[in-house]
């Protein structure tokens, strides 16, 4: 199972802070994104960054391990 987290503006457009995507061997972070973007297109309009297990992901072809924690995030506005 892949745990997916949403925060702030993204969570607010989706209406939830967390979702799950079934794990399958070879699943890439892009696959998780595609699946969720189809489900929540308005929220994904503002997604700028992805993270896997608390680390920024630049290469969306990153394969995910089972039980990974993934986040799709809007532009940060802290500070």
């Amino acid at each position: 199972m892949i745990k997916v987290l949403f925060f702030g503006p993204v969570a607010s457009r989706i209406g939830i802070h967390q979702a799950t995507v079934a794990f399958r061997s070879g699943i890439r972070i892009q696959d998780v994104r595609d699946e969720l973007a189809a489900q929540y297109p308005r929220a994904f309009e503002i997604v700028c960054f992805a993270a896997a297990n608390g680390e920024h992901v630049r290469d969306m072809s990153l394969p995910l391990a089972d039980d990974s924690e993934v986040a799709f995030m809007a532009k940060f506005s802290g500070g």
Binding site: G54, A71, S77, G78, G79
Partner: protein, 141 residues
Amino acid sequence: MKPAVRIQLEDFSVDEEVSAIKTSSMRMGGIATFLGCARDFSEGREVSEISFEAYGSMALSELNRLRTDAVEQFGLLDARLVHRIGTVKGGDNIVLIVAGAEHRAPALEACRWMIDELKQRVPIWKKEITPQGESWVTSHP
């Protein structure tokens, strides 16, 4: 002494963080700080409150990395970073960056670099609550 990097609901004291950073070296001649506060307006709109949400574990590890990078890159003796989450009002403290070095130039430059990087790297989001409603800030100067 509190950890050098924190994300917390409660307010912080600049004096307390300055005292804490001083304990790391008697060779510290310059301590630069940047304190971000809640303004009561933003882009022409009155703002009554600001609310912050963080991806806590990642934000904390990014802040720690920022501290390590700054210490190494600017030759600091030490650095501290504190960011509040939850809801703050106009005038309240939001974020504090403290950089201590032997001389003033690296302390001031590192302080500037850390606040700029924090805004780029650290997963925290701001919601402005105005009399007309609330909205997440999705772009930032």
